[in-house]
Subunit: 643 residues, 2 copies
C-alpha cells in the first residue's frame, strides 16, 4: 500500500490510472465514480446498490413556466463558487435576477473600484486590493423564530478564509472578515437561537467550518510535520462580524448545521485521520459528525480557559478528543458516521441531523435529544446518538427536507435524487425488516452536488421544490466549447413521485443555495440619500483643491452630470464623489472615465466615490455607461487633464 | 438659449428640471422620454405619433419552453456592457450558456490571472493589468458568403477603445487591440466581402465607429478648443487584428453596418454638429449616416495619400466633408437622416440600409445602389440616396429584418416594437398616400434599446424570433434591491402579429447581440494538448530551479495533481504550469492557492500558467476548485513556502 500513498498519474491511460489509484481498498462507490465520470451518462453507470429509479419518475416538463409579466414564487440565493460572487435566481423560472459581487471585481457596479467597496474588500498598503479571487460555497440567511428574517445573507470564501455578509434590503455586501489561522474555510451556518437566553430567538452568531489543517500559526513553522497541524472551527458575531471564538478540533471540518434550539452546532468531517495525503484521508472506515456545545464553549472562554494563536487575539479553546474525555464537561462530541461524509443538515422539526456518507452508501441520522443526553453523560458512546443509517444509494452528499417527514438526498455517483422517509429509516434501524425507507428516485443530469428544498432549512419547509445542483452538464445544453455550464434541475416534490420540471444553467460553480419564500424578502428599491455621509449636496457640489488633492463633487440626473467640464492637472490625486439625484426606480447611472480604468454605477439616490491619479494628460469624455434616458448617449462631460 | 447650454441640475424637482433643460426646441419624443422614464409604464406615455398597439399583440406566453434534455435552436451572442464580458444565451430558452470574460477579470476561469490571459489583455511595466474595466456594446460574427462562418466574434470596448476577437471553436478571447487616437469606440461590424476581389467572399476587415471627438493626438493639447478635436473611423484586419487604416470624419460615429457586396461601410452619426455640449449635439434638425467607400480609401493609402497622428503609425486619411467635395473622388458620403440617429442596419437582401432617428419618429431607408451612384457622381445630393422615411413611432433605435421584406424597429420612447414593410415605405415615400407601411406594434417592458432577429444580420434571415433588449425592467421580476436586471423579451415574429413569448433577465447591460442558427457553430469540446507549446509532459514534470526562479510543471488528473508536495523558498518567483490530462468532456479542474490570490481552471487537455512571488512563508493547500470527481474535495497538494 505504501506505493499508493503518493498519487501517481498515468498519463497514457487515465481510466486505468484512476482505477489503480483507487486500489482494492476503495469502495464500490468510488470505483463507480471513475466509470460514471468517464462515460458521463447514467446508462453506463455501475449497477445500483439500492432501488432503481422509478419509471414514473422520468423528467417531465411543462406547467411551471413563468409567463411574461408574472413573478416567481421564491428567491434562490446561491453561492457562485470560484466566480467569487453570490447570485439570486427566481424559482421556478430559473431567471438569474442578480449577481452580487463579493470577493471578485465587478466593473459593472464598480465593486473593487469604488473607495467604498475597496474598504470592504480590504487593500494592501499601496491601495491595491488584497485579494481579487474567492470561492464561495455556502450561502445562508439570518433567522428569526426558526425561519428567515430577510435581514442578512452570509457567504464564505474558501480560498482566503473569509466570511462576507450581504444586506438583504439592498442585496449588497457590507462586511468581509478574514478568519485568523483558518485555511480552506468551507461550511457556514448562522445560529437560530441563543443557547442560553431563549428570548434571543434569532441569529446572533455564524459558525464557520475550517477544512484544511495547517501549522498554527502558519508562519513557516512545522512545514514538514503535518502531525502538528490543526484546524479550527470559528464563531463570528452576526452583528459586528468580528470573530468571537475558535475551537481547535481533530480532523477537517466541512459543512455546518445548527440546531433550532440554539444549543448545538454541527460539522461533518471527512478526514478524522488528520492525514496530509489522499489515501490517508480515506483510511478510516468511519469519519465523524462533530457537535459543538455552544454554551459550554462560551462559558470556558468567559472563565478565561482559552489561548490565542500567533498574532490573532481571538480566544481559542481545545475541542480535540484528547481534551474532551469527560462528556459532562466536553465542548465537542464526535459522532462516528459513514466514510468521508460531505454534508450535514438539520431537519425542520428540530429533531435530527442527517450526515451523508459520500464514500458510504448511507445517510446517518443523529437525534439532537440524544446528543444532549451524551453531553449530560447519559450515553455510553457517541455512536449511541445515531437513530438511523439507511442505505440510500451511491455517493450521498446533501440532504434537504419537505417538512412532511421526508428527506431528499443527492447521490453523486448514481446521478440521482433519492427521497426517503426519516421515521421509516428509524424504524428500520430499530429492527423492522419490513419497512422500506426509500420512497422514490429520480435521475438528474449529471452528478449532483448540493440539493436544497424550498424553505427546507427552516421550520417552514413547504415541500414544493427541490433544486439539484449538478456538477456536470455534458450534453444537456448547446455546446459552447470545452468549458461547460452547470445544470440546475428544478424538481417538483409536492407529490409522491418527484418530477424534474426544468433544466437551468449556472455559470460555474454554484455549490449550496437556499430557496426563500418571496414574502420574506423586503428590499429597498431606491436608496435613502441621507444614508450616505458623503452625499453631494448642491451647496458643496463642484471642485475643491487642496494642494494636489482635488475633490470633484458631482451629481447625476438623467440625462446629465452636474458639471459639463472638469479640469485637473497632471499629477493630481483626484477623488470623484457622485450622487445620483434621480428618484425613479431603476434609473441607474454609470460613470466611466476612459483610459483611467474607472467604471461604477450609482443607483437612485446613491453616492459612491473613486480616487485615482491623473497621470495622463488629455481630454477624456466621462460618460454614462448605464442606459438612463433617450439622451443617455449624449450624457457625457469633458474630463480634462492639463499637461 | 445661452443659459441652457450648460445643463443645470435642479435637485429639488427632477422632472421639472429635465423638461426645462430640454427646452422649447426639443422634439416631442424627447419630452416624452422624461415622462416615460419617470412613470416607467406605458399607460403614462404620451399620445402616440402613429398607429397604436394592436389589441391582438398582447403578451402571450407558452409553447416555446425548452424541456429538460432538449436543446435550443439558436445561439444568442451578446455584449455585456460595462460588465466587460460577452455572453452566450440559448434561444428560445433564454438560458445563459456561458459568460466569456474579455475586458474584465474572471477569477473562475482565471482570466486576468493566468500569464496567457494577461498577455492578451495587456499589462503595465510592473506586470499588473493595464485595464480591468470595459464596456462592450456590439458583438458580430465573421461572415462567409453572406452568412456566419462560425469562426470569430468581434466585440468592442467603449471605455478604452479596444476591439477583441473571440474564437468560436473554444469561445475564448484570443486577441485584443487598442485603437490609436480613438475615444468612445462604439459600433463594430465585420465586412462581408472584399470591395475589389469578389473571390474573397468572407470577412477580412472589421470596421470600428469612433464616437467621441478628442484632441488628435490626445496628449494635453487643444483642451480648451473642442473645435480642433476630431473622431476617427477605423479598419482592423480580422486575421492579424492590426489596425489597417483610419478615416478622420466630421461628427461622431456610432453604430456600423456593412454592405453584402463589400463596397461600403456605414455609420450613423448623432452629432454632426461636432458640439462639445448636449444642447449643441441636438441643434441640427438632421444628422447623418456616413458611408465609407472602402476601395477608394485603400487606394488612397496605397498611393501614399495618408498621414499619421502622434505616435501611431496607422495611416489616416481625411474623410471630412471639406476634403470630399467631389463625389467622384470622395471616400465618404454623408446622407442626411433623422435627428440624433442611433442605429444603422443592412437589409438581408443587400439592397438597403435603415438608419433610425431616435429624436425623429422616422426610419430613413437608404438604397445601396443609389449611394454607389452618388459616389459615381450621378446624383445631385446625398439626400437623393434616400428611398423611404416612414413615420414609425417615438424613439426609433435599431432595426432588424425577417428576410420577407419586413423590418422590426425598437421604439425606445413608446416602449414598443414596430413591424413595418420596406416596400410599402418606399411606395409611400414615392407618393402613394393609400399605403400604410406600419403593420403591427407590440408593447415591450420597458424602453427597448437594441433589437435583433434570428439570423437577421445575414442573407439567411429566417423571420422566426426577434429579441427586444429592454433597458428598464422595473416591476417585471422579483425585486432585488435598487439595481435592476435588464429584460430580454423574446418575440415570435413568424406570423402576421408579433407575440411576446418570454421574459428573460440579463445582468446589466447587454446592448447588441446576434442570433445564430445552431448548425453554424462548431465548437471543440476538448482541447488538443499539442496546441499548447508549454504543455507539461511526464518527462519534464516536476520542479526546476534557476536562481530564485522556480518553475513547477504540474499535471492534473481526477482526483489528484501530479505532485502532492511542492516546496519553494520565501522570495522565489514561482511559475506554475498546469496541464489537464483528463480527456473526458466537461472534466475541468480548478487550481487555487490560498493567500496567494490564485485561481484558474484547466479544461480537458488544456495548459495554463501563473507566475507570482512566494512572499508569505507557510503551508498552503493548493486545491481543486472545479468539481471533478467523488474525491474532488480530497484533491489538494501542499504548497510549502520555507521562511
Amino acid at each position: 500500500m505504501d506505493k499508493e500513498k503518493t498519487p501517481k498519474l498515468n498519463t497514457e491511460q487515465p481510466q486505468e490510472s484512476r482505477r489503480r489509484f483507487l486500489g482494492k481498498g476503495a469502495m464500490l462507490g468510488l470505483a463507480g465514480a471513475g466509470v460514471s465520470l468517464l462515460s458521463g451518462c447514467k446508462e453506463d453507470a455501475p449497477a445500483k446498490a439500492s432501488a432503481s429509479a422509478s419509471a414514473a419518475a422520468k423528467a417531465v416538463a411543462g406547467g411551471h413556466e413563468v409567463a411574461p409579466g408574472q413573478l416567481d414564487d421564491y428567491y434562490l440565493f446561491s453561492s457562485g463558487g470560484h466566480s467569487g460572487e453570490a447570485r439570486i435566481m427566481g424559482v421556478p423560472s430559473g431567471r438569474t435576477l442578480r449577481r452580487i459581487p463579493v470577493f471578485n471585481i465587478d466593473p459593472m457596479v464598480g465593486w473593487g473600484i469604488t473607495n467604498e467597496s475597496k474598504a470592504i474588500m480590504g487593500t494592501n498598503p499601496d491601495g491595491s486590493l488584497k485579494y481579487t479571487t474567492g470561492d464561495t460555497h455556502h450561502v445562508h440567511g439570518s433567522y428569526k423564530e426558526g425561519t428567515y428574517d430577510g435581514r442578512w445573507l452570509f457567504v464564505n470564501d474558501k480560498i482566503h478564509s473569509r466570511i462576507a455578509r450581504i444586506r438583504m434590503d439592498t442585496m449588497e455586501c457590507d462586511k468581509i472578515t478574514e478568519l485568523p489561522n483558518v485555511a480552506g474555510f468551507h461550511g457556514i451556518f448562522p445560529d437560530k437561537r441563543d443557547p442560553v437566553d431563549p428570548k434571543i430567538n434569532y441569529t446572533t452568531r455564524v459558525f464557520c467550518g475550517g477544512e484544511f489543517h495547517v501549522p498554527l500559526p502558519n508562519d513557516g513553522r512545522d512545514l514538514d510535520d503535518p502531525s502538528k497541524w490543526g484546524a479550527l472551527f470559528s464563531c463570528v458575531d452576526a452583528a459586528t462580524m468580528e470573530v468571537r471564538w475558535q475551537v481547535r478540533i481533530d480532523g477537517n471540518c466541512d459543512l455546518v448545521a445548527t440546531s433550532y434550539d440554539g444549543t448545538l452546532a454541527a460539522s461533518n468531517q471527512y478526514n478524522v485521520e488528520n492525514a496530509p495525503d489522499q489515501v490517508g484521508m480515506m483510511a478510516a472506515e468511519r469519519d465523524a459528525c462533530v457537535f459543538f456545545n455552544v454554551a459550554r464553549i462560551e462559558k470556558m472562554i468567559k472563565d478565561g480557559k482559552s489561548t490565542t494563536i500567533g498574532k490573532s487575539k481571538v480566544p481559542v479553546v481545545d475541542g480535540r478528543k484528547a481534551a474532551n474525555g469527560d462528556a459532562k464537561t466536553a465542548i465537542t462530541c464526535y459522532v462516528p458516521v459513514g466514510k468521508n461524509p460531505h454534508g450535514v443538515n438539520a431537519s425542520p422539526d428540530g429533531k435530527y441531523f442527517v450526515c451523508s456518507g459520500k464514500l458510504s452508501p448511507t445517510a446517518t441520522v443523529i437525534e439532537l435529544a440524544l446528543v444532549t443526553k451524551w453531553f449530560n453523560g447519559e450515553l455510553k458512546t457517541e455512536r449511541d446518538t445515531v437513530v438511523a443509517e439507511p442505505e440510500i444509494g451511491l455517493g450521498p452528499l446533501h440532504t434537504a427536507f419537505d417538512g412532511k417527514g421526508n428527506a431528499f438526498t443527492t447521490l453523486f455517483l448514481d446521478s440521482q435524487i433519492v427521497k426517503w422517509n426519516v421515521d421509516k429509516a428509524i424504524a428500520q434501524f430499530k429492527g423492522d425488516k419490513t419497512v422500506k425507507p426509500v420512497l422514490d428516485k429520480v435521475d438528474v443530469h449529471y452528478q449532483p452536488g448540493h440539493g436544497y428544498a424550498s424553505m427546507g432549512e427552516t421550520k417552514d419547509a413547504d415541500g414544493k421544490y427541490f433544486n439539484s445542483g449538478n456538477k456536470f452538464s455534458k450534453d444537456r445544453f448547446l455546446p459552447v466549447g470545452p468549458l461547460h455550464s452547470e445544470t440546475e434541475q428544478l424538481i417538483d416534490i409536492s407529490g409522491d413521485k418527484m418530477r424534474v420540471i426544468s433544466d437551468h444553467t449556472a455559470y460555474p460553480e454554484p455549490h449550496d443555495a437556499i430557496i426563500v419564500r418571496r414574502d420574506l424578502v423586503k428590499t429597498r428599491q431606491i436608496y435613502n440619500m441621507d444614508d450616505f455621509p458623503n452625499a453631494v449636496k448642491p451647496e458643496n457640489a463642484g471642485i475643491e483643491r487642496k494642494g494636489n488633492k482635488v475633490h470633484v463633487r458631482l451629481m447625476s440626473q438623467a440625462p446629465a452630470f452636474s458639471m459639463p467640464v472638469i479640469k485637473v492637472k497632471k499629477g493630481d490625486e483626484v477623488t470623484i464623489t457622485l450622487t445620483n439625484y434621480d428618484k425613479v426606480e431603476d434609473l441607474t447611472h454609470g460613470c466611466a472615465i476612459p483610459n483611467y480604468n474607472i467604471n461604477f454605477i450609482v443607483n437612485p439616490q446613491e453616492t459612491k466615490s473613486v480616487t485615482f491619479k491623473a497621470d495622463k494628460p488629455g481630454a477624456y469624455w466621462m460618460y454614462c455607461t448605464h442606459f438612463c434616458h433617450a439622451l443617455h448617449l449624449e450624457m457625457r462631460s469633458r474630463f480634462l487633464v492639463e499637461a
